[in-house]
């Protein structure tokens, strides 16, 4: 059994940047992302689509298209992951590190039996013979809580429900007993009821197997209970990082704040409007040197448009990248200033109806 303590550093990402050259310009998908993950810990990466969370995950999994330009360092259990990728090392991804995807409907090959897709990994990486692989595959299906695993093993994905399919995907990812599992929006495509079951399953498996988990989601709520730590990403940067409780109780980055406001909560009045985040989505192509959230930020000031705020510690484990953090004095002042002006420094109209974050 792997060491269950959280103190052993397993994954370290240093200043990771990913760029895609296109005809229209370079897309800066990830800009200097750094984080660490301890053995057996779980990290939630939260952000809207295009925030670079999936690209980060794919970088770890070596799933980027060839055209991607990657810089920075990724170290996993002492190994330089990017070098492994360059050297086309086999039996690393899928063995040490595994990943599951958002849509169980599409992440299973429709023309292959579920069982084959699981045992394939075993046979490919661990050189199991057909029979052993089958046994282990059925065990895995059993492990992820699929009823009648023997029958399911020989069924095609389209014969299974969405929830079951995602369990198959999880079984597939777990086949080689990876020490890190990256789950990219694992529950987005399934019912809310199924969602909980799946998250519970992941949680359970993580704990049982001492496996680390990176949970990528656009839904802060999903990350809240399941993660030891949450990193909020916006426009390819981590804008805020901290323990889930802290983040939820006391969001500091205006983006985190806005995200929370856009989330339905038990304690919000039933008929109150959920807030959408206004303004244009971030410009990823040839971004200018400014805080990328500034155009949408109700707190944005002139200096937000001058330079990029760096991630820095606030208290303890908490880090944010903002000149005018919300729920702080600076932030409140900035908001008041903008409100008085009727618009932010980036030109965003301050809507009258808008709740303040002051």
């Amino acid at each position: 059994m792997p060491d269950n303590s959280h103190s052993v550093k397993q994954l370290s990402v240093q200043n990771l940047s990913v760029r895609f050259p296109t005809v229209r310009g370079t897309v800066c998908a990830v800009n200097g992302v750094s984080f660490e993950l301890s053995q057996g810990a779980s990290l939630g990466i939260v952000g809207e689509s295009g925030s670079g969370k999936s690209v980060t995950a794919r970088t770890l999994m070596n799933l980027l298209p060839r055209s991607a330009e990657v810089s920075g360092g990724v170290e996993f259990e002492g190994a330089d992951v990017r070098r492994l990728a360059r050297e086309r090392v086999k039996h690393f991804w899928g063995v040490k590190m595994a990943m599951i995807f958002q849509d169980p409907m599409t992440s299973l090959n429709p023309v292959k039996k579920c069982g084959t897709q699981i045992s394939e990994t075993l046979r490919y990486h661990l050189k199991r013979d057909r029979k052993t692989a089958r046994h282990e595959g059925i065990d895995l299906l059993n492990l992820v809580g699929i009823p009648e695993p023997k029958k399911r093993f020989d069924q095609y994905p389209h014969e299974l429900s969405g929830g079951l399919r995602q369990r198959v995907v999880i079984a597939m990812a777990l086949a080689c007993d990876p020490s890190l599992l990256i789950a990219d929006e694992p529950t987005t495509a399934v019912d809310v009821t199924v969602q909980k079951h799946l998250l519970d399953l992941l949680d359970r498996l993580r704990k049982e197997r001492g496996m680390s988990l990176i949970l990528i989601t656009h839904d802060l709520g999903v990350a809240r209970r399941r993660c030891d730590e949450i990193a909020v990403m916006y426009a390819g940067r981590i804008v805020e990082r901290g323990k889930p409780e802290d983040l939820f109780e006391d969001p500091r980055h205006p983006y985190t704040d806005a995200l929370l406001r856009s989330m339905p909560r038990l304690n919000t009045p039933i008929h109150s409007r959920l807030e959408a985040i206004g303004g244009p989505p971030p410009e990823l192509i040839n971004p200018t040197e400014q805080c990328s959230f500034a155009p949408r930020c109700t707190l944005a000031q002139a200096d937000c448009l001058q330079s990029v705020p760096q991630l820095s510690g606030v208290i303890g484990m908490r880090e944010i990248a903002c000149f005018y953090p919300a729920n702080t004095k600076r932030g409140r002042r900035a908001l008041a200033k903008n409100r008085a002006r009727g618009k932010t420094a980036a030109g965003l109209q301050m809507s009258a109806r808008r709740h303040t974050s002051g």
Partner: protein, 336 residues
């Protein structure tokens, strides 16, 4: 599935009747098959026959003479039902057909069933070989092109496939024959069948002639579908599982990308049964296509109709097989 099969069988029967009837009706227009039955005297008209009967005209040949040539014409017409209308003849033909009697050639009295038994296997072997070569080229080619879509190799191969698509197969056939058989004498220049090896050697060039164009077609289709498939999540999933690119291309992406290829494969195979005739002609291959052309040009209606029927049935059958292949390729089709 049963309903599906039933519909296919119905379609088969309908196509059979429509195609053979059209062939029958249009053949009525083609020349005079009498020539093959009675020779030059077939040119004698009924009016002339009547005039001979009345003694107004000399008989066909003044010295020696073949008195009764007109009777001979009438008899030949009656024996071969040429004096009847198209629907009637068609009816007779169909009834005989279902009795297993395809009739005989007007020209040489050969049993048409023998002709089919002689010709069809050759054509089928040629087509199968051509398709195998085409797929053998197209699949790795398409995979390689899609693997690095829009990169150097893909761009070069796109030009290459278009070039292949644009070479008329008769030109290709003549060029290949000229160089590989006659100049360099690598392959025999004449069809021969002394055992499978000699036939195989004789069929390679014609098959290659057919295959190169097909390969380009398949490559284009496969490449497009593969590029689409490669953007599917399950491909990312497979990569995330750490499988090698090769494994993913062939074991995961290929099968779901074969639909267009299979469809065109079916259409082509059907069309090739009778459509390879130019290539068969160039390489003097005694296949269905050659025989069809010959039969049309020598006014041998029973042979033409029978062969067209064979081709049409073959076309429908192959397309039926293609449906089965769909079911193999995609389990979702099976349960649908």
């Amino acid at each position: 599935m049963a309903q599906f099969a039933l519909r296919r069988v119905l379609q088969l029967i309908l196509v059979f009747f429509v195609v053979t009837f059209v062939a029958f009706a249009s053949l009525k227009l083609v020349g005079d098959p009498l020539f093959n039955l009675v020779g030059v005297i077939s040119g004698i008209t009924e009016e002339q026959c009547e005039a001979v009967a009345r003694g107004e005209l000399e008989d066909t040949f003044t010295s020696g003479g073949n008195i009764g040539d007109c009777a001979l014409i009438q008899r030949a017409k009656a024996e071969n039902h040429l004096d009847k209308g198209v629907p009637q003849r068609y009816g007779i033909w169909v009834i005989n057909m279902f009795r297993g009697d395809f009739g005989t050639s007007f020209v040489n009295g050969d049993e048409i069933s023998d002709i089919i038994a002689d010709r069809l296997p050759v054509s089928v072997r040629l087509i199968v070989l051509a398709q195998l070569i085409a797929l053998g080229i197209a699949v790795p080619w398409g995979v390689a092109a899609a693997y690095r879509a829009n990169r150097g190799f893909d761009k070069v191969s796109t030009v290459g496939s278009f070039a292949l698509l644009s070479v008329p197969n008769f030109a290709l056939g003549v060029i290949l024959l000229y160089f590989f058989s006659l100049r360099w004498q690598i392959f025999p220049s004449r069809y021969e069948n002394h055992g499978w090896w000699s036939e195989f050697k004789a069929l390679i060039l014609p098959a290659a002639t057919l295959a190169l164009g097909l390969a380009a077609t398949y490559q284009r289709l496969l490449r497009t579908d593969l590029i689409t498939t490669l953007q599917e999540d399950f491909v990312h999933m497979a990569r995330a599982k750490g499988l090698s690119d090769r494994h993913i291309m062939y074991r995961h992406a290929l099968r779901p990308s074969l639909f267009s290829v299979v469809t065109v494969f079916g259409v082509n195979t059907g069309a090739l049964i009778g459509g390879a005739l130019v290539v068969e002609q160039i390489y003097s291959i005694p296949g269905v296509g050659t025989e069809l052309v010959e039969a049309v040009l020598r006014n041998d209606p029973p042979v033409v109709v029978a062969l067209i029927a064979v081709v049409a049935v073959g076309f429908v059958l192959v397309n039926f097989l293609v449906d089965l292949v769909y079911a193999y390729l995609d389990p979702r089709v099976r349960s649908a």
